[in-house]
């Protein structure tokens, strides 16, 4: 018991404990703890776990080395392992196992795989300044939803709802959360409009561009053809697309991003 207490109090023991705690938090903790509070979560991708672990590791190294006494204690067992004659067997084992481990990890990285390569896909790529919509030029910059200044909003909402249920429901779902009955068959999966990171961040002109041009019309960073979203300009009129956009915002309760006075749009990145 006292040995365990000594290990916990020792800076090296603390560092190892912190590394393990951080790993468990980033893998199991984030995946399952929010669920206890009724919040949705999922396992964290490996790339992000790696980034988090490197960050935590830097923090832990700073913790053990910014105090002279703690740093001395931290190094003591490591130096003993690498220098003292009595630790020869352990040292030999470590110096054999460490290269083997690194070799195995390297092999895991470079071995041939049949998985789809991991791509860096931008969900909200930069829109073009203007597009060609059904054969005519449309300036996207500063473009507002014309239906908001024409006719009754309630009517447009109803029209939009009809269009949504006829065309969008199978993928984007009844609750607009991307969980339509076909949704799970696609990769990437359809966007959830209830997510604060999707239409809540965008102007209506951006959403119009995405609906009109679909997956094939994505710029390179958005991985065109990767998305199964059809180019709806081939099936819907301009007003129908604007109406469905009104439905999306009204139904989710989000406000579309407005254009700033003077034409610029404030920036929010990744």
């Amino acid at each position: 018991m006292s040995r365990l207490r000594g290990l916990i109090r020792h800076p090296l023991g603390q560092a190892i404990g912190l590394v393990i705690t951080a790993y468990l938090l980033f893998t199991i903790g984030i995946a399952y703890l929010p669920g206890l509070l009724g919040l949705r979560s999922a396992p964290v991708p490996r790339s992000v776990v790696l980034q988090y672990m490197l960050t935590a590791l830097v923090g832990i190294l700073i913790y053990v080395s910014h105090d002279e006494e703690r740093w001395r204690q931290f190094k003591e067992p490591i130096t003993a392992l690498l220098v003292l004659p009595k630790t020869r067997v352990l040292r030999g084992a470590l110096l054999t196992l460490a290269p083997l481990l690194i070799g195995w990890l390297t092999f895991q990285q470079v071995r041939p795989r049949v998985d789809t390569p991991i791509g860096l896909r931008s969900i909200h790529p930069a829109p073009p300044g203007r597009i060609t919509f059904q054969g005519r030029q449309l300036e996207l910059t500063g473009l507002e939803n014309p239906l908001r200044h024409r006719g009754a909003l309630e009517e447009h909402y109803e029209t939009g709802r009809g269009i949504y249920y006829q065309n969008c429901l199978p993928c984007h779902g009844d609750l607009l959360d991307g969980n339509g009955h076909f949704g799970h068959g696609f990769s990437p999966t359809p966007l959830s409009f209830t997510d604060p990171g999707t239409i809540a961040q965008l102007t209506e002109s951006f959403v119009f561009w995405r609906v009109a041009k679909g997956g094939p019309g994505l710029p390179r960073e958005g991985a065109p053809w990767n998305s199964a979203m059809p180019a709806w300009e081939d099936f819907l009129t301009e007003d129908e697309i604007w109406a469905v956009i009104i439905f999306l915002y009204e139904q989710t309760g989000w406000q579309p991003r407005r254009w700033e006075e003077g034409g610029g749009e404030g920036g929010e990145g990744h």
């Binding site: 790339s47 935590a56 910014h66 105090d67 969900i123 930069a126 961040q201 929010e268």
Partner: protein, 564 residues
């Protein structure tokens, strides 16, 4: 038929417009020359700023230590000036031979300013030589003030030179409205071209960034000299110099994000597509890399201060707090570096239900990131404050209430930052963007308010003991190297973001890049190129550091006994 004609026209336009360069190509050659030139230029413009400030402190406080420090800064400048000019010359030759049509356009728009630029470079160089070589000659009385004025002039010339060059590069990014592909260069108007939309934001951003960069390189120089010092006196001097360099770098760095924000706003104002390309398009991953690197800077700076507190009597009373400050910094760093769109395998994407993580998604937006970075700035400022207060015991009667007011200001600033960070999730985007202004204002007000109060609280304070300069563990000096390397890398990386958002245009929507290398490079390729530039620059800087030491040893070496 029309397509064929377009192709013929494009071929005719491109003929003779571009040269070729072996191995790395024309763009690679110009990229390296421009980037390394810019790094040296930033150094030679940043260092004179605090050389004159430290010289002034030396004159007013009658402390020769500051004068020696200022002279040492300037010695580095003499070597770095030649490197700046050499790389500038190389860049000019490369532009003339590899991009003759583009450079012809620029020369026709900016001709007279280029002559002025060259003339001012001469004046600036000679002012520097007078400033450095006249140091020991004009070291007392009125002559010393004259000497100091030379340093001031050096800054004036340097700033004008930079403003002129900024006019050229910002014209490429944001040419004045009304200038089109059909406009003749002579019709643009020189002042109209210089005073474009992003000129002043770049001027301000670079002025501050140069001071940050200069401070970090000087600190790295001091670290190098500290590690190679042979006497306790040398170690003490270079320990102190490293501290001053780090202080300058970090204190000016704290205001840099605000200047960057101003620049970003102006880019959006000029062209929203350019702005979105920068922040939300294919360049957006650069901001995650930037967040990671700036996290390194904050942690390295704090680490250096915390280690340094071991040589300050009285600092031990602050030691229990550092681990909590570290925890806060690491948590904020994690928040800031969390990508909104995650790199994930097919199985991971399916589990998340898309590229956005259902829980970590809340950390991917600007509300979380602005909150994190502002808390990191506040924590770093607190470290500086603890460092400054460590060996002092206030004697004013109201010291306790003064400290409590300072504490309340910290709490209030942190409260405002966190409140608007959380509130930002409940309002629409356009309102949320405005919240960052309140967060920044709260942090700046706290920094200014606490600094002023602290100056008065510590007036006439008793000393708990002198700082034991030189008694610094060697590992602390590597933190200074990390700072310099990270700043250099960041500069190249964000420079690429600024330049890359022009995409396939030499001059945005005025002159198209029709060369074979017109495509914007992928992030990985750009990062490799930037890293190469950083390695070239740092190798040359290491050589300059070595020369700096060599020159000093030559001066210190005693005359041989006897003689002819």
């Amino acid at each position: 038929m029309i397509d064929a004609l377009t192709l013929v026209q494009a071929a005719a336009d491109t003929t003779g417009a571009y040269g070729s360069f072996p191995g790395i190509g024309a763009r690679g050659a110009v990229w390296i020359a421009a980037q390394v030139h810019l790094m040296f230029a930033a150094f030679v413009l940043g260092v004179p700023m605090f050389a004159v400030i430290t010289e002034l402190i030396g004159i007013v406080a009658k402390d020769s230590k500051y004068d020696k420090l200022s002279k040492e800064f300037t010695r580095l400048l003499v070597f770095a000036y030649s490197a700046t000019a050499l790389w500038g010359g190389l860049l000019l030759f490369l532009l003339t031979t590899l991009y003759p049509r583009f450079w012809g356009h620029m020369a026709r728009v900016f001709g007279p300013s280029m002559w002025l630029y060259a003339g001012l470079f001469f004046v600036e160089s000679f002012t520097l030589y007078l400033y450095y070589y006249g140091w020991d000659r004009w070291k007392a009385g009125r002559a010393k003030w004259g000497h100091w004025a030379l340093g001031l002039l050096l800054n004036v010339w340097g700033t004008i030179v930079m403003f002129i060059a900024n006019g050229w590069l910002t014209y490429m990014m944001s040419p004045p409205s009304g200038v089109t592909a059909e406009t003749l260069p002579e019709q643009v108007g020189l002042w109209n071209a210089i005073a474009n939309a992003t000129w002043m934001p770049i001027n301000i951003h670079r002025l501050i960034a140069n001071a940050v960069f200069g401070g970090s390189i000087v600190a790295a120089y001091a670290a190098y000299r500290f590690l190679s010092a042979r006497t306790a006196e040398e170690r003490a001097h270079y320990d102190w110099m490293g501290y001053v360099g780090n202080f300058i770098a970090i204190s000016t760095f704290i205001v840099l994000p605000f200047a960057g924000y101003y620049l970003g706003r102006e880019i959006y104002e000029f062209n929203q597509q350019m702005g979105i390309t920068m922040m939300g398009g294919f360049m957006s991953w650069l901001w995650i890399v930037q967040a990671v690197l700036i996290g390194v800077l904050f942690l390295a700076a704090n680490y250096y201060l915390w280690i340094g507190m071991a040589r300050i009597p009285g600092a031990e009373r602050f030691r229990p707090y550092t681990k909590w400050m570290l925890l806060l910094l690491v948590v904020c760093w994690i928040v800031w570096g969390t990508p909104h769109t995650m790199i994930a395998s097919r199985a991971e994407l399916a589990a998340m239900g898309g590229s956005h993580h259902p829980f970590l998604n809340i950390l991917g937006v600007m509300s979380a990131k602005n909150t994190a970075v502002n808390l990191m700035i506040l924590t770093t400022f607190l470290s500086f404050l603890m460092y400054r207060r460590a060996n002092k015991r206030p004697t004013v009667a109201w010291a306790k209430s003064g400290s409590m007011i300072e504490g309340a200001m910290f709490a209030l600033a942190a409260g405002v930052v966190v409140f608007y960070g959380i509130y930002g999730y409940f309002v629409e985007a356009i309102v949320r963007i405005g919240f960052s202004v309140y967060q920044v204002a709260a942090v700046l007000a706290c920094i200014i308010g606490v600094t002023v109060i602290d100056l008065f609280v510590l007036r006439g304070a008793e000393s708990r003991g002198e700082i034991r300069w030189g008694e610094m563990p060697e590992r602390s000096q590597y933190a200074l190297f990390v700072l310099a390397i990270t700043f250099t890398w960041l500069m190249g990386l964000m420079g690429f973001a600024r330049s890359g958002i022009r995409q396939h245009w030499h001059v945005w929507e005025v002159m198209r890049d029709t060369s074979a290398q017109a495509a914007t490079p992928a992030l990985g390729a750009a990062a490799n190129m930037i890293s190469l530039c950083v390695v070239i620059f740092l190798a040359l800087v290491a050589f300059i550091f070595w020369l700096g030491g060599l020159a000093e040893r030559a001066v210190q070496r005693p005359e041989p006994a006897g003689g002819a």
